[in-house]
């Protein structure tokens, strides 16, 4: 069972709530679910949508064609009608009938032009009725239901506006069409509207009315004997967006101090920490929350996080591309002073403000090379929600063990997508590295056999920190021998990092050892490649997947041996230049044979990987994906 549902409408018009309602309801049955959000940066009015994939096995990407399209406005139908499969369902409120599909001046002119061309090519007149006729001829079932009329009747005598419950109506319709019992919708709305008795009661009535209406109409996508059930007991799970998964990981990992300047999509993480984190004393009493500071800018954010780390607090800052550009000077300061600070870096479309709310993996090389001079850093890229949570903990451990700044590299596709994760164990090992009390003789940058100077926290001994080169005590020194030795100490940590970080944090291999083709990927693009793997192997090639996770120091020895075995190497990533492919070329001395790239701001889907791979087999070297709205 594998269902793909798109719910769309004007941003702020209930799409967000509808999507979350659907995800929560489905997840409560034990099925696997992934919800990917696409939204504009203008905040209100523009077309936004949730693509929700529901399956009885774990899924980590979206897939087209869609089985069901729910539209809150004409623009949604115009935008997504061509993505619905034959036999699929389109559902909308009958109140939008009579409206044109592409008239609204709030639509991007480029989009209007594109949609009008599509409509003209298919001989569809620019109206809901025209589209309906076309879809029905194509074998799509179209249901124009009187949602607002039904809601209007329910709301008589209340002050609740219709639009407040439109999302419940359309989600109820979709769940009913999928064959779910209405009890699961009750469960979801009870959670979403907890503490709002009046709203809850009205929403329950809306669910009842919609289910009754659809029961009369006998609308159902699945056959009666195909019950939608989970494959097994899943236990307790948390419904989390990627940024929230990182927040949970940081809390479990002992975060005590986080700074941020609001930026999409990173700010969600700090807001989640503020909301859910509590610090307990030894007797289990709440003594407060981790300290979260919204600073005046990103320069201050990294400066304060560095200060927090020097005092011994597990410290991090969270940002995306434009913010990290401002942090680079401070990041270098952390490098020369061997500060265990974590930067959680959510990539989005750049350069500059770029596409603030859209997906991108174009900052890989920036995260590896940012900063002047040379110093050791760790860059770890997570590929899914589970990894994002676990890596958030590991980043703190690695930062403190090796005393280097660490970048936890994520992307918008992961940050804003929602899934259900098992409740994580709370007894995760926290390794703070070598910590000493510090005495009068303490040397913060002492040369040691291990290459790591034992760390004492500020306030317990006299320590000197500057941005200048320094001796073992931290005093400024331009002596060439001190410089050479201190420089080497900082850079040679790379070898120790590569030796001690386990292989599963360097790269993950999926597939048969007897592979002919090797797909290389990283970040959330892993999800689409992983989900597509069975289909790719059915194309006649033996295909395996290598997800690179440790980007710096680059685990060349480990990664290159997989490359060496492959007859064909294909990289899939969401940027123009093929930044991972470039690293492979540099470190493994082998050019990637085919690159599959996407840089239009939308996540790569499973079906795109499959169709791209057919082109790979036909010999196309560079394939640019353009899917998504």
């Amino acid at each position: 069972m594998d269902f793909n549902i798109i719910i769309g409408g004007p941003q702020g018009g209930g799409v967000e709530t509808a999507g979350m309602l659907l995800i929560r309801a489905v997840a409560s049955t034990g099925l696997e679910v992934l919800g990917v959000r696409e939204y504009h940066s203008n905040i209100k009015g523009k077309h936004s949508y949730f693509h929700v994939r529901v399956a009885d096995r774990a899924v980590s990407s979206i897939k087209l064609p869609a089985d069901i399209l729910g539209g809150l406005d004409p623009e949604t139908l115009a935008t997504h009608f061509s993505e619905v499969r034959e036999g699929g369902v389109v559902v909308y409120d009958e109140a939008i009938e009579g409206k044109p599909l592409t008239k609204s001046p709030s639509m991007d002119p480029a989009k209007v032009s594109r949609l009008r061309s599509t409509l003209a090519e298919r001989r569809i007149n620019d109206s809901i009725e025209g589209l309906r006729n076309y879809l029905e001829k194509e074998g799509v079932r179209v249901y124009s239901l009187p949602f607002s009329k039904m809601i209007s009747d329910i709301l008589k005598g209340t002050s609740i506006p219709i639009e407040r419950t439109m999302n419940t109506a359309i989600t109820s319709a979709i769940l009913s069409i999928m064959g779910f019992e209405k009890g699961i919708v009750y469960g979801a709305i009870d959670t979403l509207f907890a503490g709002k008795a009046g709203v809850l009661e009205v929403n329950r009535k809306v669910v009842d009315t919609v289910y009754e209406k659809l029961s009369v109409e006998k609308v159902r996508v699945v056959k009666k004997d195909e019950r939608l059930e989970a494959g097994g007991k899943r236990g307790r799970r948390l419904l989390l967006a990627g940024a929230e998964a990182v927040a949970v990981g940081k809390i479990i990992g002992g975060l005590r101090f986080q700074t941020y300047y609001p930026i999409t999509p990173a700010a969600d993480e700090s807001l989640a920490i503020e909301e859910i984190a509590r610090v307990f004393d030894d007797d289990g009493r709440v003594i407060g929350t981790p300290i979260i500071v919204q600073t005046e800018d990103e320069i201050s954010a990294i400066g304060m996080a560095i200060g927090g780390a020097l005092t011994g607090a597990r410290s991090a800052t969270s940002t995306s591309g434009p913010g990290f550009s401002l942090m680079v000077e401070g990041f270098g300061w952390a490098g020369i002073n061997e500060v265990p600070v974590v930067v959680t870096y959510y990539q989005r479309g750049g350069p500059s403000t770029g596409l603030p709310t859209r997906h991108s993996q174009s900052d890989l090389l920036f995260s590896i090379f940012a900063g002047h001079g040379e110093f050791s850093r760790i860059v770890i890229a997570s590929g899914d929600h589970q990894e994002a949570m676990e890596d958030a903990i590991k980043c703190f451990n690695y930062a403190e063990i090796f005393q280097v700044p660490v970048i936890h590299l994520l992307d918008k596709g992961l940050a804003n997508s929602v899934t259900a994760l098992p409740v994580p164990p709370l007894d995760t090992a926290i390794d703070r590295g070598e910590v000493v009390d510090g005495t009068e003789e303490y040397k913060r940058f002492e040369f040691t056999e291990s290459g790591i100077s034992p760390r004492a926290f500020l306030g317990r001994s006299i320590q000197w920190y500057t941005g200048d080169e320094h001796n073992e005590r931290g005093n400024i020194s331009e002596d060439p021998l001190v410089r050479e030795e201190m420089y080497r100490k900082r850079l040679e940590k790379r070898e120790r990092i590569l030796k001690e970080i386990p292989d599963e944090d360097k790269a993950k291999f999926y597939g048969s050892d007897a592979y002919e083709d090797l797909i290389l990927t990283w970040g959330t693009t892993k999800g689409a490649a992983f989900d597509a793997l069975p289909a790719l192997n059915a194309l006649g090639r033996n295909v395996a997947l290598l997800q690179v996770r440790l980007m710096e120091p680059f685990p060349a020895d480990y990664v290159c041996k997989f490359i060496a075995k492959a007859r064909r190497v294909v990289s899939i990533e969401a940027n123009y230049n093929g930044q991972l492919a470039w690293l492979i070329s540099h470190y493994c001395r082998r050019e990637v044979d085919n690159t599959v790239l996407k840089y239009n701001g939308r996540s790569i889907s499973e079906d795109e990987v499959i169709s791209a791979y057919r082109r790979v087999i036909e010999g196309e070297g560079r394939i640019v994906l353009t899917g998504g709205e």
């Binding site: 409408g9 004007p10 941003q11 702020g12 018009g13 209930g14 967000e16 709530t17 959000r37 939204y39 504009h40 940066s41 203008n42 905040i43 209100k44 009015g45 936004s48 809150l72 406005d73 409120d93 109140a95 939008i96 009579g98 409206k99 008239k103 609204s104 001046p105 709030s106 607002s148 009329k149 809601i151 209007s152 709301l155 008589k156 002050s159 609740i160 506006p161 219709i162 639009e163 407040r164 439109m166 609001p262 930026i263 999409t264 603030p356 709310t357 804003n416």
Partner: protein, 88 residues
């Protein structure tokens, strides 16, 4: 047609423009409902709401909205900031 969307008292939702609120009766309705006894012709005011462009405009900008659906105002969900994803 003396339906809600032609009535002075009807304010469309700023986003889902086919539903709105009757200021006279204080009820939520669809744009095609009516006629009713409270119907009143729309009047031009200094500032108007354009449902097509989803923006408020001044009388001096009338020309730019002459073929658009306009109203004296719109209903805005004041709690929207609590649940809308923002981008900056």
């Amino acid at each position: 047609m003396k339906v809600c969307k032609e009535c002075k008292w009807w304010k469309p939702d700023a986003l889902l423009i086919y539903i709105g609120e009757c200021e006279k009766k204080r009820i939520s309705t669809r744009d095609s409902e009516g006629p009713c006894e409270a119907f009143a012709e729309k009047v031009e005011s200094e500032f108007m709401w354009c449902s097509d462009c989803r923006e408020t405009f001044h009388r001096s900008e009338r020309e730019r909205h002459k073929k658009h659906v306009t109203h004296e105002g719109a209903r805005v969900d004041e709690d929207a900031h609590e649940y809308i994803l923002a981008g900056d």
